[in-house]
């Protein structure tokens, strides 16, 4: 779980609340088929990759190294080609799975939550904000 939260911090680039992201990953690991195993493998693979880059672990690595590690999963927003997808499937390379089920889902969570704060909102949809101040724009 620590590796996932560290990945969230790295990929979003914002000071995130670890509990918010941790709860999200925990629920998925407990309720959705395949996630627990995927998350565990991600932690091991991320650690291994971080050590190859000179860090003690993925969690302890600098954001630069973490992003470098996650770059193995990422494709800069570019959709995978059919050839890349096929090659990944045949080779057993797990990083495309991490891209889809860790990186993209983390960014999707960020988009519907913390991104609102970054845009200047008081809270994101799903957080009770009360009705007493919505008419007045806060500083």
């Amino acid at each position: 779980m620590a590796a996932l939260v560290a990945a969230a911090g790295a990929v979003t680039g914002y000071a995130i609340d670890p509990a918010h992201y941790g709860e999200y990953y925990r629920w998925r690991a407990e309720h959705l088929r395949g996630y627990r195993v995927l998350y565990e493998r991600f932690g091991r693979d991320a650690d291994r990759a971080a050590r190859e880059l000179g860090a003690r672990s993925f969690v302890a690595a600098t954001r630069e190294i973490q992003l470098d590690v996650l770059g193995r999963a990422g494709r800069g927003g570019r959709p995978m080609t059919v050839w890349e997808r096929l090659r990944a499937d045949v080779s057993g390379n797990p990083w495309p799975l991490y891209e889809r089920f860790v990186v993209r889902e983390t960014l999707a969570l960020f988009a519907r939550t913390d991104a609102w704060i970054a845009l200047g909102y008081r809270g994101w949809p799903g957080v009770p904000k009360g009705l007493e101040r919505y008419r007045l724009r806060h500083a």
Binding site: V11, G77, L107, A115, L131, L136
Partner: protein, 520 residues
């Protein structure tokens, strides 16, 4: 079969309103819903959607339940506009609760298009009051000079204009345009045992029941001990015997055999498309114990016509800071040109809609996501709610495709008319006026072809004076079958420009009143 029993097809807001009325008056009530149970308050659904990013398959209808076919000029997925769950589409609605205006009931005699209803605003007004009390509507007419008269105040005070809407309202007022608050079935304060809105901004699946959901009242009806909700149970036919509806033919969605459910009164409340389909499936043309039908059944399908503009502003207006929609304008709801084109209501939504030119999937980091989303702070979506005209070329018939029981699905044919083109042009001009008046720096308006119904489907079993012009009478009774009623939007003669749900509920309450008091 007890005489004081009613069987209701559909558990949406209309079926629920009728169930509550009958159960409250001592009737034995059975409500049939082909969709699955849907928990209330919608806290689990809220958690799935907003905390876990998960679509729970337990809340999806079984395979082979929905699959209508569609031809003509409407290009959206009509099945997805009809939520087959306990509580129906109003489990997800925006809860805008508006009254039609008196002229909307008489467009033929008043403006030369459409047809007149057999009832007028004055007959429906007391039921509008009751519908507002039933749903818990927050609102005021104090800032809306175009609101129709009312005999009772709103049950709850209004949601005031949001920060952004207040700025836009001031600018519009300088150009003589009124932007006023929006009556809505969400609790500005605690109402009955529903808590006051806390601005979760998750109105689709309000976790506390501040936004009205039929499941609230379904639970109350069930708690009387006189109402049973049969979920995952499809109604296949209405059976008629010697001029009276005798029973429904029902089958569990995963069942192998039909059974008859007898009732003294049968109310079909499954929405305009499914109501017509059920009656057509039950037609005497298809079975000796079928329903004698007017040739108008399935005709005059009418959608609410919505087109949305994206307006850009120099400053951040923070749409979505309050989840509820707050600002709308009735000013063009009875315009001077009405007759050449239809009426229009305009509404600023609180929705944040990511820019179409850049997908969120393009972002590789949070910072990139924020930059893609940043312009939305300074954009507002302005929706044109347009009146359409009833047209015999918009129909519900029986499809070639069949459901899991072998019954034909509905086939919808929907053509847009010249009248709709002219109404779109009128609305487009209003968008330009709004953009100029509010000092928008840019505006894009959806093309005509992208028309959206807003999940508001009406007509198909219109009310009228006899079987020559209509499917049901002014109280919703099927002509010739006095104890079989059609309730809700399918009984509309014409749609008006406003969101129709409050009118649907008012009509439902009027039907229940008629059956339980006047009819005896």
């Amino acid at each position: 079969m007890p005489e004081r029993s009613v069987a209701i097809v559909g558990s949406g807001v209309v079926g629920t309103a009728i169930a509550c009325e009958f159960a409250g008056r001592g009737y034995r009530v059975d409500v049939f819903e082909k969709g699955p149970p849907y928990p209330y308050p919608h806290t689990p659904q809220f958690q799935d959607r907003f905390l876990h990013g998960y679509e729970n398959p337990a809340h999806l209808p079984a395979a082979g339940i929905q699959g209508l076919s569609l031809t003509g000029d409407y290009h959206r997925d009509l099945d997805s506009e009809r939520y087959a769950v306990a509580g129906g589409s109003a489990t997800h609605w925006g809860a805008i609760a508006l009254r039609m205006r008196p002229p909307d009931f008489h467009t033929r005699s008043g403006y030369g298009y459409g047809d007149d209803w057999p009832i007028g605003y004055d007959e429906l007004e007391p039921y509008y009051c009751r519908a507002e009390a039933f749903l818990g509507v927050s609102g005021t007419d104090a800032d809306n000079p175009f609101a129709p008269r009312r005999s009772r105040p709103y049950p709850l005070p209004p949601f005031e204009l949001s920060y952004g809407d207040r700025i836009l309202a001031t600018r519009l007022a300088e150009r003589g345009i009124a932007l006023h608050t929006t009556p809505q079935a969400a609790t500005r304060r605690a109402y009955r045992d529903r808590p006051g809105c806390q601005n979760f901004g998750a109105c689709d699946v309000c976790p506390i029941g501040a936004r009205y959901s039929p499941n609230y009242d379904l639970a109350r009806a069930i708690a009387t001990g006189r109402c049973t909700l049969h979920t995952r149970t499809a109604v296949r036919r209405v059976v008629v015997d010697r001029g009276r509806a005798r029973a429904l033919v029902v089958r569990a969605v995963d069942g192998m055999v039909d059974r008859e459910h007898a009732a003294g009164v049968i109310v079909v409340a499954g929405g305009a498309i499914e109501n017509a389909r059920l009656l057509l499936l039950s037609s005497r043309e298809r079975a000796p114990d079928g329903v004698p039908l007017s040739e108008t059944v399935g005709r005059y399908l009418t959608f609410h016509h919505l087109w949305t503009a994206r307006l850009h502003y120099a400053e951040a207006l923070y749409p979505g800071d309050v989840g509820r929609f707050t600002g709308q304008s009735y000013q063009f709801i009875d315009p001077p040109g009405r007759g050449r084109h239809g009426a229009v209501k305009l509404e600023f939504s609180s929705n944040i809609v990511p820019p179409p030119e850049r997908s969120l999937d393009e972002a590789a980091t949070g910072a990139e996501l924020v930059e893609i989303l940043r312009p939305t702070r300074s954009q507002r979506m302005l929706t044109v709610h347009a009146e359409s005209v009833p047209d015999g070329h918009r129909t519900v018939t029986l499809s070639e495709a069949r459901d899991r029981f072998g019954d034909p699905y509905a086939h919808v044919h929907y053509e847009l008319a010249d009248f709709d083109h002219r109404t779109y042009a009128f609305g487009s001009g209003l968008v330009e006026r709004f953009a100029a008046a509010t000092r928008a720096t840019g505006a894009e308006f959806e093309p005509f072809e992208s028309v959206y119904s807003g999940c508001h489907h009406m007509g198909t079993c219109r009310m009228g004076r006899g079987p020559g012009d209509s499917a049901v009478d002014a109280f919703g009774a099927v002509h010739g079958v006095g104890n079989l009623f059609v309730a809700g939007g399918s009984a509309f003669v014409s749609p008006g420009a406003v969101n129709p749900t409050l009118t649907m509920v008012a009509l439902a309450l009027r039907t229940a009143d008629y059956v339980t008091t006047r009819r005896g």
